[in-house]
Amino acid sequence: MSEYPGQMKEDDLHAYVDGRLDAARRAEVDAWLSANPAEAARVAAYREQNDMMQALFNPVLNEPLPLQMHPQARRRSFAQPLRYAAMVGGMALSGIIGWHMHGAEISRQPPMLAMVKQAALAHVVYTPEMLHPVEVGKEQEEHLVKWLSKRLGSPVKPPHLGNVGYELIGGRLLPGNQGPAAQFMYQDARGLRLTLYLSNKPADKGEAAFRYAQEGKVSVFYWIDNDKSYALSGEMEKADLLRIANAVYQGLNP
């Protein structure tokens, strides 16, 4: 903007709006504005812009992070391990990724790997929740079953695992690579939690037997049965989880 005697520098007016002037200069601008009401109105409008922006968007700071941005996801790089792996190249992969697939399925079965990592991530994120581990509790099991079946487009039912010492807590709907996915959570008498993650199977996959993957403390058994992919996650030994995976499979195929 042009400058001539009696005219305030435009930059100073903005610095005034943003609170970036020292006290002496601020007092000068105050004095000038009181003699220039039109300019004072303009400055007030700019201040209001800042205030309204803050009021409108500050609540975003307190929104829960989406699953893929969750600190656990970042720390363990569950979110996009393959993309990260390609990007970080020579960096200490084991430290950053911390993800080890057992078996040679990584390259042959990327859709299943994606499903497994989503399942393990959802396990890590939701099992520590004290207040909201599930969206719909077991007391509304009928509603839970109807809701998830509708969203996944085919019947979904949590197997009962009482015979291996686990009781259903409830479940939730999650975004998955093959559309909506469901997570059922179980707990044993000591409070140890398991999750069963299921989604529609990738179109090009047939049935698949149990396979095993591990990340840190989380063990995962995953398989494809009929039209669904399943992943059972728990922080326990492989043999213990296998026993439960068998119970899940039998519960699903009575």
């Binding site: 700019y46 975003v60 941005m69 720390r75 430290g95």
Partner: protein, 167 residues
């Protein structure tokens, strides 16, 4: 790595706030944040430990944002768009909408939007904004001045202001 990881994670809420205001919708905003985070990871070796992570992340977000616009993942006005000439003249029928700050911000050319949001919302200093956007300080100040005035005009629902060419 964990400490760097924590420093990056610390920035996420602010990146989301800025992205939400910049894109105007939650899904585009979170896509922008996610791509920014992935870029940050891939370029982590370029970050100098001890330097300002916030400014570094915001500059990555700026580049990602520009890429999204170029790839048409985001539809947004640019200062060069002729459409701007009619920006405020169509206000009579959607006068109330024009009152809405979020949509008014969305009507600004993105070059203005970035500057007024980084300063007014994110409270970056003018020098930091110059660094983040990789433009001279004088350009920051002229975009700030024009952006705020344009926003004021749009929100007041007035007729199109006389357009000035901006470098």
């Amino acid at each position: 790595m964990d400490s760097v990881n924590a420093i990056i994670t610390e920035q996420i809420p602010r990146l989301r706030r800025y992205a939400r205001a910049l894109t105007g919708d939650r899904i585009s905003a979170d896509d922008l944040v996610q791509d920014t985070l992935e870029r940050a990871w891939s370029k982590l070796h370029l970050w100098q430990r001890g330097s300002d992570m916030r400014a570094w992340m915001f500059s990555i977000m700026h580049n990602t944002f520009i890429n999204h616009i170029r790839k048409k993942q985001l539809v947004t006005a640019s200062m060069d768009d002729e459409a701007l000439n009619i920006s405020a003249s169509a206000t009579h029928e959607n006068f109330l909408e024009m009152r809405d700050l979020a949509s008014s911000i969305g009507k600004l050319p993105y070059e203005y939007r970035e500057v007024i949001l980084l300063i007014g919302l994110e409270q970056l200093s003018y020098e930091e904004v110059a660094q983040v956007l990789d433009i001279p300080l004088g350009t920051v100040m002229s975009r700030l001045s024009r952006g705020r005035e344009r926003l004021r005009t749009i929100m007041a629902g007035e007729n199109t202001p006389a357009l000035r060419r901006v470098k």
